[in-house]
């Protein structure tokens, strides 16, 4: 019995229709902890080099962590991972909610889905009973519709992860959806699920999780909860959720606006977290075990739909980045994406890209099926969302992502296709924030903010500085934040409420019985970071520094308006940031981990 874990691995082969159970390897738990750590190890070790992300040989990994399902604040995260169809590199994406807790109560820390089913199926898990079931009746249904139907069929106490029509149609940024409006949204993990014709995973567990020292666990857990509830930030965070950041981000000049042409939107009066709260929020919604419900569940009378959100990122990409300035229009676009099961970040980003191409005359109505595109036209946004999910007309081009669409549209459009490594950049304009730009350049799934949210460090120490401490901060955050993804936890209690990081040390000791220091846990996070980098090196011939460059807009076009007017990070400084980063990471000057660094991290099975 492994304390802190469900104890079993479930391996499902959809081609053969087989299901195998095995015991979780204690060494895997020790060296990789769980969640993203498990995912990176499984994908690196088990995938053949060069597999087609949408082919039979790719694998979808679902992983819980050692705190999942236990009463530790924020223990509701589940990791999904695969070789990405959007980028061709490593991808993991996590979702908050109730899934990983249920997985562990059923006894499973890790589910590895292999092969490809000839017909749509769903994976049914009810404690020890595991079956593949016919899902033809659900195929084609929207994610929220199908989740409702599955809950009706199976019972409310089943937790469900599933895909919508976008992922079925192999849109490259298909999500894995859960709990009526939450998503593991990035880099196409849902698309991999769609390629395997796996509509859903439904889990119910009724066992318990072994804990090494239950008395100490309860004491430490209680302390962590008490800290969160007593935090002066608690009521603010619950009132506003991530949409509370809309206003400060716009004040910092970092709120993506009109395809990142600038970072400041003129009229935010209908876009603030406060306006959203008063206008459309119905109630608060929390993940498993969370004391600070940052999810907002909304109803927009204007469009007569219910939706979870809009979150900060969605407000940026289905709002200001496409020029839309009314949170109710954002909420409707959010609802469409959630039901169709496509990532709001990438969807808004590619629509913004197409709109700029249209306004610049690079594409015309001949390329857009007669649809005239202009920033601020919410009806056109709704139409394009549907076209993308159905892969219809111009939607078929945009469904491949911004990098591909730029190749099709031509002109100089690749200079402002706002992506890195094939993943659309998320919600922070970074020309006045070099640490944040470096965070995007080096994030290990492509340009995503959740590996290091460094913009606040830029503001604190001076925004223009291109100095070694900024690279050091990015690296520090790239270990801390992904460590949460290994543990199965949420970092927002730390970031937003100030929950001390070292409180996880006695918690982990009480749960697992192993006495591990914070440095030891961070060492695991560094091991995983180097492993995912090595995955890119293996999968992409010629991988190196060039892959870390941002789009040309970020080093050639000064910000035209707002508080960051005139700012840009020069190409020289882009290279300087990478030089400092690679050196501090112990990588060579092309960004490849050295043998020495890999050996230091016990990654002897890795070749570069």
């Amino acid at each position: 019995m492994l304390n802190g874990y469900g104890g079993q691995v479930l391996r499902v082969n959809l081609t053969r229709g087989t299901i195998e159970k095995s015991e979780l390897d204690p060494d895997l738990a020790k060296d990789y902890l769980g969640g993203r750590g498990f995912a990176a190890k499984v994908l690196y070790s088990e995938l053949e080099k060069g597999v087609d992300p949408l082919g039979e040989a790719n694998k979808l990994v679902v992983a819980a962590g050692p705190i999942s399902g236990l009463l530790i604040p924020g223990s509701g995260k589940t990791t999904f991972a695969a070789k990405s169809p959007a980028t061709g590199g490593y991808a993991d994406s996590n979702v908050g909610g109730l899934l990983s807790a249920e997985m562990k109560y059923a006894g499973y820390d890790l589910i590895i889905v292999e092969g490809m089913s000839p017909e749509p199926v769903y994976l049914f898990i009810d404690d020890d009973t595991v079956e593949l079931r016919d899902a033809r009746a659900y195929w084609g249904q929207g994610a929220i519709t199908a989740e409702t139907a599955l809950k009706k069929e199976l019972g409310e106490d089943f937790q469900i992860a599933l895909i919508g029509p976008g992922a079925e149609n192999l849109v490259k940024f298909g999500c894995i959806c859960h709990d009526f409006g939450r998503q593991a949204g990035r880099a196409g993990v849902g698309t991999v699920m769609g390629s395997k014709k796996l509509k859903a995973i439904a889990v119910r567990g009724r066992k318990s999780i072994p804990v090494a020292d239950i008395g100490e666990f309860r004491r430490v857990g209680r302390e962590m909860y008490d800290f969160c509830k007593a935090s002066d930030g608690w009521d603010v965070w619950v009132r506003l959720g991530t949409a509370g950041v809309n206003v400060p981000s716009n004040e910092w000049g970092s709120f993506p606006t009109r395809n990142f042409q600038t970072g400041h939107f003129e009229d935010m009066s209908k876009m603030t977290g406060e306006y959203m709260r008063e206008r459309i929020v119905v109630t608060d919604k929390a993940c498993f075990g969370c004391p600070c419900a940052c999810g907002k569940y909304s109803y927009t009378k204007k469009w007569d739909v219910r939706v979870e959100g809009p979150e900060y990122e969605t407000a940026a990409f289905l709002g200001t980045d496409v020029g839309v300035a009314d949170i109710e229009d954002v909420a409707y676009a959010n609802y469409l994406c959630d039901e169709l099961g496509i990532d709001t970040i990438s969807t808004g980003n590619v629509i913004a890209f197409a709109t700029e191409c249209f306004e610049k005359g690079i594409i015309t109505t001949e390329d857009t099926d007669g649809l005239a595109l202009s920033f601020g036209d919410s009806e056109a946004v709704f139409e394009l969302i549907k076209k993308i999910a159905k892969r219809e007309g111009v939607g078929d081009v945009l469904a491949e992502g911004a990098r591909h669409a730029a190749q099709v549209f031509g002109g100089d459009s690749s200079d402002f296709a706002m992506q890195i490594k094939g993943l659309e950049i998320s919600g922070y304009e970074s020309r006045d924030a070099p640490a944040m730009m470096l965070a995007y350049m080096t994030a290990d799934i492509g340009a995503h903010h959740n590996r290091a949210w460094a913009i606040t460090y830029d503001i604190e120490v001076g925004r223009d500085a291109v100095t070694p401490d900024k690279a050091a901060k990015v690296i520090e955050l790239q270990h801390i934040r992904p460590l949460f993804d290994c543990l199965g936890g949420c970092r927002l209690q730390w970031v937003e409420l100030g929950l001390p990081l070292d409180s996880y040390v006695p918690a982990m000791k009480a749960i697992t019985g192993l006495d591990r220091s914070w440095e030891d846990l961070i060492h695991v996070a560094e091991r995983v970071w180097n492993l995912t980098r090595a995955f890119w090196v293996r999968e992409q011939p010629g991988f190196g520094r060039e892959w870390d460059y941002p789009p040309a807009r970020w080093y050639t076009d000064p910000v035209p308006t707002g508080p960051s007017k005139g700012k840009v990070v020069s190409k020289e400084n882009v290279d300087k940031l990478l030089d400092m980063y690679y050196e501090q990471r112990g990588w060579d000057q092309n960004g490849i981990p050295t043998r020495e660094k890999l050996d230091e991290l016990d990654l002897d099975f890795v070749t570069v």
Binding site: V236, R239, L240, G244, T272, E274, T456, I459, K473
Partner: protein
């Protein structure tokens, strides 16, 4: 003259720049930004401004009796 005052709460790292809770005398119409500058720190370090439990911008003019809570940006998170 308590009525002329605003109640100010600084959260987290902002406590390096002032007391956690304070009662401050303000000029009528003074903005949050101006109050922060008078306390001697950079308004950019404030991420979220709450006045009487509602989110406001830093340029929101204050009135006597207002309860103001300032949340910091986290230096990397």
């Amino acid at each position: 003259m308590v009525d002329d005052n605003v109640e100010l709460t600084l959260v987290g790292l902002l406590r390096e720049y002032g007391p956690a809770h304070a009662s401050l005398t303000i000029e009528p119409g003074q903005t949050v930004r101006e109050v922060v500058q008078e306390l001697g720190f950079n308004p950019e370090l404030v991420a979220i401004v709450m006045v009487n439990g509602r989110q406001k911008s830093k340029d929101h003019p204050l009135r006597p009796g207002d309860k103001v809570k300032l949340l910091p940006l986290v230096g990397g998170g």
